[in-house]
């Protein structure tokens, strides 16, 4: 099997995870016009909680649920306790707040769970599938990664496009004042939005932990890749975030495969700068200009 094909398959799986991260960032950006720089650290923390559960004899699937549900709760807490009070403050203050949360969580995790690098078990085998005589560089765990990201995205799509709750959430993000007049509990919608975004981030965390190993800063680069994917897609477009994340997966897989895995982050920097120079509004944004 050609090296290119192997790298492409790898890129697809990694891209699905970056897409989840990008989507989490975009969901919060659309709801509150804030980039949640603590998104990666929150996902790191929920992944540690899952590993903590596994260490105490909890089966993988239950630990998986621990990660997702703790993501849901953590997102709600962060929005309600930390972000809400500075709702009307300048954007810089809110960004600094998320940076503080990032530092705090990355320091808290080694205090609670120990600072050493840990391995995280995958749900399925990570050995490539066999088709007839040939082995493909696509494992059952890769299939699970793709499937679970896809499932979450379809669920979110249905929620936002087909349900009354989704409509209210979109309205609250689009125009909070009018929504409030129409009787929508805007505050609750914001909390729910942060919760769901944090759940998507937590999913990215448990899915990428087996290949990256678990340590307090392990999600920093995933956050950066997700951010680049989100900017590539246009920052305010959910579809754009998913496409951007997938493109990042492919691009970085080729960079890692052909040039060396140490250069993946440099590749992301080059892509990000290039996008911001050439097409700052991204591929899918409806807006003509990026916002200040």
């Amino acid at each position: 099997m050609s090296r290119f094909f192997v790298l492409s398959l790898n890129g697809l799986t990694q891209g699905a995870i970056y897409a989840a991260m990008a989507l989490a960032l975009v969901m919060i950006w659309r709801a509150t016009q804030v980039i949640n720089f603590a998104q990666g650290a929150m996902a790191m923390f929920t992944t540690y909680l899952a590993l903590f559960a596994i260490d105490h004899g909890v089966p993988y699937w239950l630990a998986f649920l621990v990660a997702l549900s703790s993501g849901l709760i953590l997102g709600a807490i962060v929005e309600r306790v930390i972000v809400r009070p500075v709702e009307s403050a300048p954007p810089l203050n809110v960004v600094i707040l998320t940076l503080g949360l990032l530092l705090f969580l990355e320091a808290l995790a080694p205090m609670l769970f120990g600072g050493q690098i840990r391995s995280f078990p995958p749900a399925f085998s990570i050995v490539g599938l066999h088709f007839g005589n040939s082995q493909v560089a696509f494992s059952p765990f890769d299939a699970f990664t793709l499937g679970s990201v896809l499932a979450v995205m379809v669920l979110l799509l249905v929620l936002f496009q087909k349900t009354d709750l989704g409509l209210r959430m979109r309205a609250a993000a689009f125009n909070p004042d009018v929504s409030r007049l129409l009787g929508i509990r805007v505050g609750r919608m914001l909390t729910l939005g942060w919760s769901l975004a944090s759940l998507v981030g937590a999913l990215a965390g448990v899915l990428i932990a087996p290949s990256l190993l678990l340590y307090p800063t392990f999600m920093d680069q995933v956050l950066v890749f997700g951010f680049t994917g989100a900017v590539l897609g246009g920052l305010d477009s959910a579809v754009g975030a998913v496409v951007g994340g997938l493109l990042m997966g492919f691009a970085l897989s080729y960079v890692g495969g052909y040039l060396g895995s140490d250069l993946e982050t440099v590749g992301a920097l080059v892509i990000l700068i290039a996008v911001l120079m050439v097409r700052p509004r991204g591929l899918f944004s409806r807006h003509r200009l990026r916002q200040a």
Partner: protein
Amino acid sequence: MVAVHSRLDRLASRTLGGHLLLALGAAVLLLLLSTQIGAYDNYNLTAVAIFAVAAAGLNLLTGLNGQLSLGHGALMAIGAYTASLLLKDHELPVVLVLLLSVLSTGLIGIVFGYAAARLRGPYLAGATLTLAVALPQVATRYKSIFGGESGLTVPPTTPPAWLGPDFPPERWLAWIAVAAAVVTFVLLANLLRSSAGRAFRAVRDNEAAAALAGIDVARTQVLAFVISAACAGLAGALFAYWSGVTAPAGFGVTLSLQLVTAIVIGGLGSLAGAVWGSLVLVFVPSLTSGMASTLNVPSAIANNLPLAIYGGILVIAMLVAPHGIQGTLTRILTIGRARWGHTPAGGQKGVVDWDDPASDP
């Protein structure tokens, strides 16, 4: 118009003199202090001076020009690696090493500044964060040049002969760092009172209005980024001397975030705030490690306590006191003055009041 100009000129000349006197006083006091304290405290004094230089540069960019950089740790790395590479095979005078490090980081600053000038708010923060994540990887990747994970060792500076044979090297490094910091602060303080400084603030407050007033917005932003990067480079080179080894692990995202913590704690937009912030960055870890060893706290907790405290401080500061130490001091003074019938107390509650501390660098 003419009258306004001449008044500003007189003010500028007065500020220059004032800044120089203040700087001279501070330098003499600190040099005297360094002769009275031991090696460990000199080591800490050096660290305060280093962080003050980096934080002052970042504060110029973030507090005064409104551009948030999460990549100043990476820019410090560029300064540190420049110094380490220069000292790898040659013995060079400290001043030359520092100047070349400032130059190399400033050049990188021009390249990145041009990109940054086109970016706003979250885009710039994200791009500089990516820089902070990516740069240490370059050092790991090109082992033959940058020494990989273990980094490059930096030979200590030897005190000149005229100071006598017993002059402690820690004190000599403290003198160098303090001198560098004082020079940096005088230059920055004067810059902020110049037309360039006013342009920085104008661009921060309202780009469209600044452009209408004839300010080249992009050029101003690039200039702020380059000056800020040059400060980071100087701090990085001093950091290399101070730590004795330049390795990628020392320049991670946390270093950048610590610098952000320093300017937020000290006060956005204020040079004095950068000093407060760097005092916190140096003395919080030594306080916690001292406490941890007396209380027998496990090392996993003790080692991470400072970062947890910084994170907590950032969150609480934004919720409770977005003005930082210097801003709060200035507010208290302003309120005090208002009581006595001078200037009215300024600032809105809960909003970063940029001009308040900025007026007193």
